[in-house]
């Protein structure tokens, strides 16, 4: 996947989304940001699955 000229793997996109979603959700965490915070955690777990499959495939 190519984003802003960088070639990124699926797990990298998931982790980036997760990290950014946590940061963005914090100012509104008491309200609507909470759902984004939960999304960040889900994106993280998706990233972990893809990262494991990537390492296993390369090795």
């Amino acid at each position: 996947m190519k984003i802003l000229g960088f070639r990124l793997k699926i797990y990298e996109v998931s982790f980036l989304l997760s990290g950014l979603a946590i940061l963005i959700s914090l100012p509104w965490i008491g309200g609507s940001g909470y759902n984004l915070w939960i999304f960040a955690k889900i994106a993280y777990f998706i990233g972990v699955v893809f990262f494991i499959s990537d390492v296993m495939r390369v090795k």
Binding site: K9, Y11, E12, F15, L16, S18, G19, L20, I22, L23, L26, I29, G30, A40, K41, Y44, F45, G47, V48, F51, I52, V55, V58, K59
Partner: protein, 337 residues
């Protein structure tokens, strides 16, 4: 922040136990990989010995701190204090020490055998290493999981188990990566094996952080308190994830790339700086998360974050000093530059 000796000792116990657990786990994995790579037995034995030394050092410190805390700070006083109101958390911690006494005693005995073989019977040690590492990892996993013991299993108890257990794969594995990386400064022959092993440790770190996330969901309604500490910890977690994205792929590729001849390398020299900053951010972020977990801070987010940035800068300076000290007149200098 008030200095609290019991909390400080618990932090040291957690750190030493987690590092011992990580060394035992990755030591076991390395012995299994050694079996599948008979051509590199010598290199694998050297790495296993390094990991065994880290294990021995951290275990010895753990036993020392645990013994001190168990006898002088968290001795079982539930009978003596019957009827006196105690902080429930302290009660759970005391119960944890009490339950763990049996497992720590077994670990101590096995540890003595481990040290005996490691120092006096090296050949036999390498034969027994997988068993030693496996059994010791199991014991450490039990000890670290029930450091806080409620007396029965419920959502809170599972939270404590996951919350403590994941440090074997997160903070301690990050510490192990740092130590193994520094080892390669003077042991060029070990580089290909250690660098190729790093992605597997990264898998452990990502899973470890996932365990922590899972543990949080168990107590979310009760523990969701929007304090400056919460905002600070969440920011650090986000930084760990973003920085880890860089470390897991590009930095690993950079290290493997550095093993190739100069003319076929893909990474630019300038990436080395990013790599060192990324390493400093990683270790300081994990240590910060643990430190914040054990102490209460009555300061603003800005103060906490400024202190965090200062420590990253200090870690970078220390990394640079170590680099320059070890890279002088070394083949590694040529490789990394």
């Amino acid at each position: 922040m008030e200095f609290n000796l019991p909390d400080f000792i618990r932090l040291l116990i957690q750190l030493c136990l987690a590092v011992a657990g990580a060394s035992a786990f990755w030591g076991y994995v390395l012995t299994q990989k050694a079996k599948r790579n008979p051509d590199h037995q010598g290199e694998y034995k050297s790495i296993v010995e390094i990991v065994a030394k880290i294990f021995a050092f951290s275990s010895a410190l753990f036993l020392l701190f645990w013994g001190f805390a168990s006898f002088f700070i968290f001795q079982a006083i539930s009978f003596a204090h019957e009827g006196i109101k105690l902080d429930p958390t302290n009660e759970y911690i005391r119960a944890g020490f009490s339950v763990n006494l049996f497992f720590v005693a077994i670990l101590s005995i096995i540890f003595l055998f481990f040290i005996n073989y490691f120092i006096f019977h090296k050949t036999k040690f390498h034969k027994l290493a997988p068993k030693f590492f496996f059994v010791q990892f199991l014991l450490i996993a039990i000890i670290i999981s029930i450091q806080v013991w409620k007396g029965f299993f419920d959502k809170e108890q599972f939270f404590f188990i996951l919350h403590n257990f994941h440090s074997i794969f997160t903070l301690a594995s990050v510490v192990l990566i740092d130590i193994l990386y520094m080892v390669t400064f003077k042991r060029n022959a070990l580089k290909p094996i250690i660098y190729n092993f790093f992605p597997w440790i990264s898998v452990g770190i990502w899973i470890g952080l996932g365990l922590d996330f899972a543990s949080v969901f168990l107590i979310l309604p009760e523990a969701f308190i929007l304090s400056p500490q919460f905002f600070f910890s969440q920011t650090i977690v986000a930084i760990i994830i973003l920085n880890g994205t860089l470390l897991s792929n590009r930095v690993n590729n950079y290290l493997l790339d550095s093993l190739k001849p100069v003319e076929v390398r893909q990474f630019k020299v300038s990436f080395k700086k990013i790599f060192h900053w990324s390493g400093s951010i990683s270790i300081v972020s994990w240590l910060t998360i643990y430190f914040v977990d054990f102490f209460e801070f009555n300061v603003s987010f800005l103060v906490l974050f400024s202190a965090y940035l200062t420590f990253i800068f200090l870690a970078r300076v220390v990394h640079e000093i170590i680099n320059r000290k070890f890279l002088e007149n070394s083949f590694t200098k040529e490789i990394l530059n």
